[in-house]
Amino acid sequence: MDEALLRSLTPNVLGILVRRGADFASAEDAVQEALIEAVRVWPGDRPDDPKGWLVTVAWRKFLGMARSDAARRRREDLVDDEPAPGPAPAVDDTLQLYFLCAHPSLTPSSAVALTLRAVGGLTTRQIAQAYLVPEATMAQRISRAKRTVSGVRFDQAGDVSTVLRVLYLVFNEGYSGDVDLAAEAIRLTRRLFASIDHPEVAGLLALMLLHHARRAARTAADGELVPLADQDRGVWDTRLIADGVEILQAALARDRLGEFQAQAAIAALHADARTAAETDWVQIVEWYDELARLTGSPVVRLNRAVAVGEADGPRAGLAALAELDDSLPRYAAVAAYLHERDGDLETAARLYGEAAGKAADLAERAHLTRQAARLRK
């Protein structure tokens, strides 16, 4: 049984049912039924047009369910609308699924789960494993999400930025279980990129590719965090970098800047440097200025302070830092780094220790603790 084929067809089939007027929750149930049938029937009698077969079976299942439903009369009207049999249209019906799954009425975790299920075609168990929660919990999260959007009509495209945020959330979840969520997010964003013309979609795709290209270098074999400057640039994936840069350049040329494009531009400048010393920090500061203008985010201004420190020296970086609220996450870590570069090792060691206590994850805490220990030796 070709599991990958089934998985790649699932969102298409679901999209077609939804476009034909099936409500989302029933369409999803019908598609699952059709998949079970495929697993049963295909090994002995594989159809020539698997997608067409799935659509036909799923639509029949949906009609069966609709007929037995209390709202019989209203739903039976849909039978009249059944399109003539024939090959499924080539238009990408999954696009509306992206908007449905990222609907503003859903919480971020529900939106993520529904996207992985409906658009990504992952099983509930795979999603539960990836998020380290019990399968029953994830099943409920998904069925609640389905109920939440079951009354939503899909006649117009939703807000692209919501979809992009959901995909970026998936990307940032990283890796656990048997599904690599970063790779999954890239796959889904690529498909969105192929079906929608929007520079920020390109920006997000480029950003993901550029980050992903450096993944192998980001942690040592023992799980230790490797800072950008110390990474072995030889293990960066140059193919992904070239891919990301090309997509980004085409997007930037359209002159509709958004925050993902700006972030990708910064990632591209890092990727472009053969050694850490060759990094074009002056240009990076300019992109951080754009990003700060677009987002107003204090975290962006914190990162900008680091870049200023590299471009104009640690004193200038500390001056930029002084304008920010010292309760920001990673403020102490940035201050420690800039003080160290300025030669004030004692202050730096104290701040690294402080930053370690506030670190958001174990690898980061270990890294910062090591920095403090290194300076105190």
């Binding site: 919480t107 971020p108 975790s109 919990t137 940032n172 990283g174 990162n303 994850d361 174990l362 805490r365």
Partner: protein
């Protein structure tokens, strides 16, 4: 989607408002308390926020390496230990505010006299794997 650990203490937390030891409750009050906890967990499964829970026996043993070739040293149990953990629940929620809300709800479990215990629960974020580094 951060995960949080809710810690329930036998001892070590500040005293509850309705602070009467469980062995002095009426049997039906104990039943009501247990039902409340079970309903709470069931509702969390339904909202998709439940990760796991476990009650712990009151007595534990301390264990320590004692050198090459020797069996580990054990000590305890210490009935007088100041901080004793009674059990834990792990939840997976969208925000810190939601975690607070749920902890508050759990702290309202009924105790003696059928009134909420108002016990103190400890809420600790679980540390995860690193997110994408902002490099």
């Amino acid at each position: 989607m951060p995960k949080y650990l809710l810690l329930k203490h036998y001892r070590g937390a500040p005293a509850a408002v309705n602070d009467i030891p469980m062995e002095q409750w009426a049997p039906e009050e104990i039943t009501a308390h247990i039902d409340y906890m079970r309903d709470f967990a069931t509702r969390l499964v339904e909202t998709g926020e439940y990760v796991g829970e476990q009650a712990l026996a009151p007595e534990g043993t301390f264990v320590r390496y004692d050198g090459e070739g020797k069996p580990p040293v054990t000590d305890g149990p210490f009935a007088e230990t100041k901080d004793l953990i009674a059990g834990f629940m792990i939840i997976d929620v969208d925000s810190y505010e939601r975690a607070l809300e749920l902890a508050g709800e759990l702290s309202a479990a009924p105790g003696a006299g059928g009134k909420p215990i108002h016990e103190w629960l400890e809420l600790r974020p679980l540390q995860g794997e690193p997110l994408v580094v902002t490099e």
